[in-house]
């Protein structure tokens, strides 16, 4: 187990290095640079700026300096938020995205598993049809539409109530998190519901379930011990990447609800060609994703003994 974990971690590090290198060269291949602005710079001023940021050095030199710095965990200073270190940006804003993401995942995971199991139990009857209709809606309506609609509804709700029932945006208390977390988790929940439904349907007709039923095991016990536990495996598989996806993909939700998360820095940095923030957030998110995938593989073994690797 330890050997397996070590191997996965080394492979993970290579993946992160590859992400860092690909981003670095891809970013420099794009026309323009962080110093490009609507007002052209005089050659002297441009030279001053290039010297300040080390952009006057050859690309290969910049690459090695850069790799050296991230190996020490230093992502440098942002070009657009000129007084802020990228490390500080990640440290201050990732917890916000992560909090929102975890809430969204809890919502998506619990909702997905329960709805999925329910639809499988009531297969082809009205609860199944109704839930699956909502699921299709959840998958196909993009999050920016969902975010806008829910914010608009909250405004109307507050106006009708004549006070603040739920805040329509901003960040600070749990109440600020509820709506954005629901919006953010919705499509993942819908996806998990579908996944859970099909995997549950496979399990419902297996021999061991039939045997258990023949032995007279109560239905609730069959459901929780035999069906749910076996059916949940595929859900765990996608949950890892989904956590990374949700905590990083909250850009739209963060913009609409004015939430100070990392997602918007991630997207804006690319639009503004803010080299250090692009690199910092990409490498950070890349490493986070790789870590989640490894974690899921290890958790797998705990849930399903057959997957345990050292046997």
């Amino acid at each position: 187990m330890l050997k397996y974990a070590a191997k996965r971690i080394v492979l993970g590090l290579i993946t992160v290095w590859f992400i860092a290198s690909a981003t670095f060269f891809g970013m420099h291949a794009v026309p323009g640079d962080p110093l490009t602005g609507d007002k052209a710079l005089t050659p002297k001023i441009r030279a001053n700026l290039e010297a300040k940021y080390g952009l006057d050095k050859p690309l290969a030199t910049q690459y090695w300096i850069y790799l050296g710095n991230i190996a020490q965990g230093d992502f440098g200073i942002s070009y657009t938020q000129e007084n802020r270190r990228v490390n500080d940006i990640i440290r201050e804003h990732f917890p916000v995205s992560a909090t929102l993401g975890i809430l969204a995942i809890v919502f998506a995971g619990v909702g997905g598993v329960l709805w999925g199991a329910l639809t499988a139990l009531y297969r082809n009857r009205w609860p199944d049809v109704a839930i699956m209709f909502l699921v299709i809606l959840g998958i196909s309506v993009p999050s920016f539409v969902m975010a806008a609609i829910s914010q608009w509804s909250l405004v109307n709700l507050n106006q009708t109530a004549g006070g603040t029932v739920l805040p329509i945006g901003g960040w600070g208390s749990v109440w600020h998190m509820v709506t954005p977390a629901l919006v953010l988790g919705l499509s993942t929940m819908a996806y998990l519901t579908r996944l859970m439904r099909s995997s549950m349907l496979e399990v419902v007709n297996t021999d061991y379930v039939r045997t258990a039923r023949a032995k007279g095991v109560p239905a609730t016990q069959i459901f929780s011990r035999h069906q749910l536990r076996n059916a949940i495996l595929p859900v765990i598989t996608v949950l890892g990447p989904a956590i990374a996806g949700i905590t990083t993909g909250g850009f739209v939700v963060e913009i609409v609800f004015a939430i100070p998360g990392l997602g918007r820095y991630f997207v804006q940095a690319i639009q503004q060609l803010d080299y250090t923030v692009i690199m910092g957030t990409t490498v950070f998110y890349g490493a986070f994703l790789v870590f989640m995938v490894i974690l899921v593989d290890l958790i797998y073994g705990l849930i399903d003994p057959r997957v345990r690797v050292d046997q």
Binding site: P31, D33, N48, N83, P95, I102, V256, P260
Partner: protein, 533 residues
Amino acid sequence: MIALHYAGSALSGTNLDVSGIDVKNNSVSIIIREEPPQLNSSRATDSISGMVLGHVMEGLVRMGLDDRLEGAVAKRWEVTPTHATFWLRKNAKWSDGKPVTAEDFVFAWQTALKPETASQYAFLLFAIKNAEAVNSGELNPSELGVNAPDPHTLVIELARPVPFFDKMLVFPTFLPIREDFYNATQGRYGADADQLLYNGPFQISRWIHGSSMTFERNPHFWNQDEIHLDTIHVPYITSDANASLNFFKDSKIATTGLQAENLTEAMRLGWQIRQHRDGVVFFMEFNHRPERVTGNLNFRRALQLVLDMDELVYKVTKLPGYEPGVSLFPGWLMGESDLLRKEYPPEKIRPNTAQAKEYLQRALQELGLSQTPTLVLLAGDNPISNIQSEWVQQTLKTELGIDVKIDKQIFKQRLAKMTSGDFDFVLAGWGPDYNDPLTFGDLFASWNKNNRGQYNSPELDGLIQTAQGQLDPGVRMRAFGDIQQHLIDRAVILPMYERGVTYVVDPRLKQLKRRVIGPDPDLSRAHIDAGGQ
């Protein structure tokens, strides 16, 4: 759960649950598009930082509510062809109670010019003697032509006569910085609320990055009589226009911009809709490099005669507050004694397809071509830009049979492609840096780096030199009139429109000032009228 706890503690108290207008606490809340990127005035270039700095700092002069220049830290001043002298008021103070002195301006301007500061807007100071040499590191900052013979007199030696020197001082680059404080911040000047020393009507009392800001009245500000609000909150930072409108409806902010699609609703709700032109002019810029067909005058004239900007503004984009472009010089610029637009009205081009076809034939003959090659139209990647470029594409196809390929690029890539000349024509815009027609007028000078289409005309260069160097306002304004006519005659650019913004303000908030030059919006002189309608 550890992560949850950590996140909670890291950001506890970020929530500013305040109203748009709080009569009891005499406070107002507004929204900003993004975190102010740079509050070190020697390096700030963007409008959001400019807006914040305009509330918490004060320069030698400022734009008054009547859009005229008025004394701020300076009581009075004098500009001659060789010198500018400013006499500072003795009661201007920093937020720690110490007086603002002429030395603070000397230090700030030297800092902005030092090569290691790497200020993008250092060029604004190039009117000062030795400024360029200091910026390139050839001279020591102490040799800059700015001196403080006594704490309340600032004498500036000019490198060349600059008739509008005082008007340039509105820009943040010219704000004072106190040396001892600046050095104590160890390179983090302006990075946090406590890393900035204030001399304006307000000071930043709280700044949570990317989340919220609070400005509180500065008790040491000299001109307390003009300041009425106690607090200005910025509880939300988001670029989403609909979210901003929702916060306004929810009474969380006191003013919001309106999109075209919100206008009907705003009217139904009985809101008083206001308009403001933000000063930016948009135009179609041609690539004048000789290898391009757009380098040919007759070819450009053909395009000039078929692209009807009235149609673009009123029938295609249909955005509120926009005005069809007729000149590089926007309508708000002042001339000698009245608006420049009134003193030198630009010639209006009437669409004429038959004549355009003649020009096109002549152009093709001159170029030795049998038919027009496909033109590359470089454009932004936003929805407005899409509509405009498709309109250009369709109009040129139906009127002149010219094929246009639209090259959509995000902002920085578009600029990079403009600079390298990888286009035939491009949808471009220009916003003013100071309140003089020259901020637009020298754009197509052969030496101007922003002249990315590389238009090169000795005649135009001569006119620009007149406008730059002459002190007589009459002579200068005539030169601007001639520049305007030259740009139209030679179809150097095709002015498309002047941009407008539509917005609403809570009726209880008075004297919220929208500006073209200087902080926008400016709430520094605003007040609350609880019974306001």
